[in-house]
């Protein structure tokens, strides 16, 4: 992309501050698309998480919302989510 054309998009900011955020973004799109949901089905959870913690980092709320959606849609239980976390 030409430098001039790149200027309006960047505004000196990154689209995703870290790779995991872009991945979490893509995961939400995947779940909505593959399950034939409406975006508002995810948005509902995001709104709730943001309301509960208005000053939390945005993608923290995003991941929490996606967890809630995944549980709601029967893709995993809360125990499954905990069990799947990598040991660090």
């Amino acid at each position: 992309m030409a430098g001039d054309a790149a200027l309006p998009r960047r505004n000196g900011e990154l689209v995703f501050e870290a790779p995991w955020q872009g991945r979490a973004f893509a995961l939400a799109l995947a779940v909505v698309e593959r399950l034939g949901l409406d975006w508002s089905d995810f948005q509902r959870h995001l709104i709730r998480e943001i309301a509960a913690r208005p000053d939390a980092p945005y993608y923290d709320c995003w991941v929490e919302a996606l967890e809630a959606l995944v549980v709601e849609q029967g893709l995993a239980t809360p125990a499954d989510l905990v069990a799947a976390r990598p040991d660090v």
Binding site: M1, D4, A5, A6, L7, P8, R9, N11, E13, V15, F16, A18, P19, W20, G22, R23, A24, F25, A26, L27, L29, A30, V31, R34, L35, W39, S40, Q43, L46, I47, I50, A51, P54, D55, P57, Y58, Y59, D60, V63, E64, L66, E67, V70, L75, A76, D80, L81, V82, A84, R85, P86, V88
Partner: protein, 201 residues
């Protein structure tokens, strides 16, 4: 578990708890065949490179030079941006609101971060922040002034909340003295913030 720090940046810190939860979700969803690495890469690539305000700038420039297109944009923005090959998620119910000498529009999503992705890409952090979301509705002139935009008292400020289905973009006024510029040159004048309504071109 593969490490995806292939963006050239250093990440010396261990993954945060929320990042670990994101990885867990990814593993579960991949295990169920609901997402692939290719899908993730294509989405991230699209929103980092192809889907951004340079697209909205083309729409605005077209509306500036073509009054009939402007009318179509104001009547049905989703259809109008499709004429320029634009569309996709969060653009299904797009409305363009025009700035005039007496009306200035600004967009917010008070409850989360709703934003017209096909024309602007993903929203900046300040748009998603609690202060912006609450204050732009309560005291728009003050917030705009803090962001460097001073409006005359004779200008009405309209704040559009994107929390429901509709996604809004602002059609800014064409700056004076740009009569000699072609569409591509005009597009370069159109900033993301002008299409949110927190700046003017």
């Amino acid at each position: 578990m593969s490490e995806h720090d292939d963006d050239g940046h250093h990440h010396p810190q261990p993954p945060s708890p929320i990042e670990l939860r994101a990885r867990a979700l990814e593993d579960i969803l991949k295990g169920k065949g609901l997402v692939s690495e290719e899908f993730i890469d294509s989405v991230v690539g699209a929103y980092e490179n192809d889907i951004g305000p340079m697209n909205g700038a083309r729409v605005v420039a077209r509306a500036w030079v073509d009054p009939a297109y402007r009318a179509r944009l104001l009547a049905d923005a989703t259809a109008a941006i499709a004429e320029l090959g634009l569309g996709g998620p969060e653009g299904e119910h797009l409305v363009a609101v025009e700035n005039t000498p007496t009306v200035h529009n600004v967009v917010v999503c008070t409850l989360c971060s709703c934003y017209p992705w096909p024309v602007l890409g993903l929203p900046p952090n300040w748009y998603k922040s609690a202060p912006y979301r609450s204050r732009i509705v309560r005291e728009p002139r003050t917030v705009l002034r803090e962001m460097g935009l001073e409006l005359a008292e004779s200008v009405e400020v309209r704040v559009w909340d994107s929390s429901a289905e509709t996604r809004y973009m602002v059609l800014p006024e064409r700056p004076a003295g740009t009569e000699a510029l072609d569409e591509a040159e005009l597009a370069k004048l159109v900033t993301r913030d002008a299409m949110i309504g927190t700046a003017r071109p």
